[in-house]
């Protein structure tokens, strides 16, 4: 079964989360995790011939932010885009089909993992660091020119702020007071290069901070905190108080690209990876939901089984889908 994503706004101005919303946040995170665990399980089968950058461990950022958006708000994402795509409501079958290079893929097999687009869900991605940041700003410019109350989100990694285009885009958004939310997913590494060799030791969000720009740092593995911060920021953007920058502290558990674990490779320690596995956003939120009697283990097990079934079905469906016709190779270049 392929559930349609639900967009449930916060219940009151203090951004307290109701039970339905909490369940929804959990379900979406679990869905993304299980989708990517499916990729891990089947990647060796060689049906997904596309470099994949897994979001496992970072789901709370994508889900917290995207759940606070309206459907026609737009999301722009870099290479590690699976979580953003699914959290914003990107089609699941099209997701697996794209990874398998099929005609039914989100981009008809043209781009694979790092470029996932779903126009209906208003989510776009491209894998050059920082390349989608100005596109989000341009979308926000159009929103403002047309007096629409829409918001654009630019997801970016910690390395993207090292790119000049980030500074250029941020500056333009500030000067024009645009409704754009910059969400930095600080996972401490750019490929295998640690943050400490790339940036000064001061907190990233402070280095971005300006008198004209509201910035904050939050625990990116706490989906409730992310959702609350996002709701507030998005509301400010809609009121013309944008742009806003949020740094979310998080961590990718798997290797930079591919389905494996890599703590034997020397650039990060097993201890470090394990400490972050303990902070897994899904595990944390699950025990909170159980403790708060919002969901019980039985319900969660049933949900997990149901979602796993969705993933299996989507993968099988992808493999049964046709390849793109080679006659369409030159379609839509111009």
């Amino acid at each position: 079964m392929n559930r349609k994503p639900k967009y449930i706004p916060a219940m009151n101005h203090k951004y307290n989360l109701n039970k339905i919303l909490k369940r929804q946040l959990f379900e979406t995170m679990l869905k993304i995790r299980l989708a990517e665990e499916k990729i891990v399980a089947v990647y060796h089968e060689q049906h997904m011939r596309t470099p994949t950058h897994l979001s496992i461990g970072q789901e709370a950022v994508a889900v917290g932010i995207c759940s606070a958006l309206k459907k026609d708000d737009q999301v722009f994402s870099p290479h590690r885009c699976h979580a953003h795509y699914l959290a914003k409501g990107g089609n699941l079958n099209a997701f697996f089909a794209e990874l398998c290079g099929r005609e039914t893929g989100s981009n008809r097999g043209r781009v694979g993992s790092a470029h996932l687009t779903d126009e209906k869900a208003h989510v776009y991605a491209s894998p050059i660091l920082g390349a989608m940041i100005p596109v989000a700003v341009g979308a926000a410019l159009a929103f403002k020119m047309d007096r629409l109350k829409k918001v654009a989100v630019a997801f970016l990694g910690d390395a993207a702020i090292e790119e000049g285009i980030f500074t250029e885009s941020l500056n333009f958004a500030i000067v024009k007071k645009l409704p754009v939310l910059f969400v930095c997913e600080n996972n401490l590494y750019s490929t295998n290069s640690p943050l400490r060799v790339r940036q000064p030791p001061s907190p990233l969000y402070k280095r971005v901070s300006l008198p004209e720009l509201s910035t904050q740092q939050i625990d990116g593995n706490d989906v409730e905190k992310v959702y609350q911060a996002a709701s507030k920021a998005i509301q400010q953007c809609r009121r013309g108080k944008g742009p806003i920058f949020i740094e979310c502290l998080t961590y990718r558990i798997h290797e930079h690209v591919g389905p494996l674990m890599d703590y034997d490779k020397g650039y990060r320690s097993k201890k470090e990876v394990e400490s972050w596995i303990k902070k897994c956003p899904i595990k944390r939120f699950k025990s909170k939901l159980i403790k708060g009697r919002i969901m019980n283990s039985k319900e969660i097990d049933a949900l997990t089984a149901e979602l796993k079934k969705d993933m299996n079905e989507a993968y099988v469906k992808a493999l049964q889908s046709p390849w793109p016709d080679t006659k369409t190779l030159l379609d839509h270049v111009y």
Partner: protein, 378 residues
């Protein structure tokens, strides 16, 4: 506005071959009885104002577009008429501005981004080549980002190594962009209006040395098609394919050759991507000889592309090897004698024509009185 050392010859040529977009009556224009003459810069200005009148989605942005100079006068009228919401100054961020144009185009805007020198577009190539050129393809046509980049090629009075380049081959190499190099006021107006109607990001490379050239231009809005070359001077003995400013140099050469009984055919591709191969090949089949005169270097350049294309598709019709006329393989220097030595002129064309036709080389004295009244600085 500064005067440039260009003698504009044979103004108002070659409009007969235009075909108009018959589906859009507003843009159709009967070109009979055309008498009004305006400059290349005025034609750009007029196109922008008319495009903005016709389409409320069009806006113009870039460094200095609303200042007192208004990009050599081309955006003054638009800024005056439409105000700061639709013509606005920006930070000096070529890369981000290009991405911003993409994001706005994705949301039903028609941005016109202006670079006062096309050399600055190197700062925007990630956005141009990784995002803009591929957007439509990677979404399988579900979304597209049509916007226009106006970028000016500089020349003369010490513009120097990085204000005088001509970057067409870089842009045309990558599938997904339209690249035009209009050589006269009529074409620049029509192609600019057309570029704001197509569904593909388009770069209009305007030559600064053409800005004061006058030509006949209809007052109404009309379009010039991408991928439709023009025979700007008919001939049977030799074909010169010339881009942008080199069309004027070729016209000077053609005038001299005519007096010597040689009929040179000049083909102006107008856009180099898409490229009207058919018109070029038809001309080569007729004359059997081809010279390609481009504003940029020969190596891996547009002239190399044309030579390869003709070698592949019309080899049997060639009576001689294809020849290229291009600046020498060095950056453009500032010092006057070096700068003069750098730029190819009609004389270079003449020399190659004489060689290909096995004629005696006539006097290489300057046959055109050029008035160098441009006093800089930009």
């Amino acid at each position: 506005m500064a005067q440039w050392p260009i003698i504009c010859l044979l103004l108002g040529w070659a409009h007969e071959s235009d075909k108009f977009d018959e589906q859009n009556d507003e843009y159709c224009y009967n070109i009979n009885n055309m008498t009004r003459k305006i400059s290349y810069a005025q034609a750009i200005s007029e196109a922008l104002v008319q495009a903005m009148d016709l389409d409320p989605r069009v806006f113009i942005f870039g460094l200095g577009v609303d200042d007192f100079k208004g990009i050599f006068g081309t955006t003054l009228e638009a800024a005056k008429k439409f105000g700061s919401t639709r013509v606005f100054d920006t930070p000096a961020s070529e890369g981000a501005l290009t991405g911003i144009a993409i994001g706005a185009a994705l949301n039903n805007k028609r941005p016109v981004l202006v670079h006062a020198r096309n050399d600055f577009m190197f700062l925007a190539l990630d956005q141009m080549l990784n995002n803009a050129s591929k957007w439509k393809y990677v979404s399988y046509g579900h979304s597209s980002v049509p916007f226009v980049v106006r970028a000016i090629i500089g020349k003369g009075w010490g513009q120097g190594p990085v204000h005088s380049q001509s970057i067409q081959s870089v842009l045309a190499h990558f599938p997904g962009l339209y690249v035009a190099m209009p050589s006269n006021p009529y074409d620049v107006k029509g192609i600019l209006l057309k570029s704001l109607q197509v569904d593909t990001p388009a770069v209009i490379l305007e030559h600064r040395a053409l800005y004061n050239c006058e030509g006949e231009v209809p007052a109404e809005a009309y379009t010039v098609e991408f991928g439709q070359a023009k025979i700007v001077h008919p001939g049977k003995d030799i074909t010169v394919l010339a881009t942008s400013l080199m069309v004027l140099e070729a016209l000077k050469a053609a005038q001299i050759l005519k007096s010597e009984g040689i009929e040179m055919e000049i083909v102006d591709p107008v856009s180099i991507q898409p490229l009207d191969e058919e018109t070029i090949i038809t001309s080569v089949k007729k004359t059997g000889r081809l010279i390609c005169a481009d504003t940029s270097w020969a190596r891996c350049g547009f002239s190399a592309e044309v030579a390869a294309m003709v070698a592949e598709k019309a080899h049997a019709h060639l009576k001689a090897a294809v020849r290229r006329i291009a600046p020498p393989p060095c950056p453009c220097p500032v010092s006057k004698p070096l700068e003069d030595a750098f730029y190819p002129t009609y004389q270079n064309i003449l020399e190659v024509v004489y060689e290909l036709l096995d004629r005696k080389i006539f006097s290489s004295q300057n046959r055109f009185q050029e008035v160098d009244s441009f006093v800089g600085p930009y």
